[in-house]
């Protein structure tokens, strides 16, 4: 039973993520999480003002159900399938984070420095989380996909545009982690 509560190994997790995508392909659909953001925007009636959101979002309802399921899955995994051994990252990483003033995981998925409940009292942290979201929303729509749509689905089907996008993801990620995060924290 311990196996369920501990961190799942990369080869099991990777295989299951691949199978999730293949399931959706078998259902006659595709794999991509960020397009749900566009559907959510369209649901609010933005299509009347901005052409990009003028499409029949109801055809994307299946994907919103996947998202709903994913939220339930996250709830189940965090509340019923976790233990204190989780998120045992490289000790070197922990030491580096300490220098930035970011707390060690000790079994938690997210640092309190960014996601503790007191971030709501810090204008700086509120700003950082919103800006992070804006970059994600803007970037994924501009690149027409995120980790699921490009890195997994696109690369699995040997699509060159997805390779460009994934290299872009890494360029952006490396710039943030190595140059910008030390300035922010």
């Amino acid at each position: 039973m311990d196996i369920i509560f501990q961190t799942w190994p990369w080869y099991v997790s990777g295989f299951l993520i691949g199978m999730v995508m293949l399931c959706l392909i078998y259902f006659g659909k595709t794999f991509g999480m960020s397009s749900n953001l566009r559907s959510l925007c369209a649901m609010t009636g933005l299509g009347k003002k901005v052409g990009f959101f003028d499409f029949d979002w109801k055809l994307q309802r299946w994907n919103l159900l996947v998202v709903l399921g994913a939220m339930l899955g996250g709830f189940i995994a965090v509340h019923f399938m976790s233990d204190a051994s989780n998120v045992s990252i490289n000790p070197k990483t922990i030491a580096q984070l300490a220098q930035l003033g970011i707390d060690a995981p000790n079994g938690k998925l997210l640092p309190n420095a960014l996601f503790g409940n007191d971030v709501f009292q810090s204008p700086k942290m509120i700003f950082i989380l919103i800006i992070g979201g804006v970059l994600i929303g803007f970037g994924t729509r501009y690149a027409s996909g995120c980790t699921s749509g490009h890195a997994i689905y696109g690369l699995s089907s040997f699509q060159l545009p997805s390779l460009k996008a994934v290299i872009g993801f890494f360029i952006g990620g490396l710039i943030m982690t190595h140059f910008l995060l030390p300035l922010i924290f």
């Binding site: 293949l22 901005v50 990252i89 501009y142 990620g173 995060l181």
Partner: protein, 137 residues
């Protein structure tokens, strides 16, 4: 039943991403610092599983659940949008440690501050829709 299968696949997806810790800010930081193989392993095995599955579907002409031919959606050709859009997303991914799937998964798990990220992501999506015709693709 139609709806249920999507919710079930979603539940599996949410559990796997959480238990593999791909939703963890720490794991994303560690990945971009090249201090662990974990995330690279996950992404590589997911791609290998996908490649094998898609090849089997193509070669054996497997039909989907409704008996229709399976079609892999081709991304539109281009360069600029993938490079620039990709870099924007990468910056956000490394900052808040979540891609779009995990934003929802973590919100479902009860990490309330994630609502700020979701709000930002919706606004960013809106911003793209607004500026789309002025941006180079």
């Amino acid at each position: 039943m139609k709806a249920l299968k999507y919710i079930l696949v979603g539940i599996v997806f949410g559990i796997v991403l959480t238990k593999s810790e791909a939703v963890s800010w720490y794991r994303i930081y560690e990945m971009f610092e090249f201090q662990s193989f974990h995330m690279y392993g996950i992404i590589m095995v997911a791609i290998i599983t996908g490649v094998i599955g898609i090849q089997i579907i193509k070669r054996k002409n497997i039909k989907d659940i409704k008996g229709l031919p399976i079609e892999i959606i081709e991304k539109e050709p281009g360069s600029t949008r993938f490079w620039i859009g990709g870099i924007f997303f990468g910056l956000g991914w490394a900052l808040v440690g979540a891609c779009p799937g995990p934003i929802f998964i973590l919100l479902g798990a009860g990490f309330l501050p994630m609502i700020l990220v979701l709000f930002g992501a919706l606004f960013g999506t809106y911003l793209y829709g607004l500026l789309r015709n002025k941006l180079p693709h």
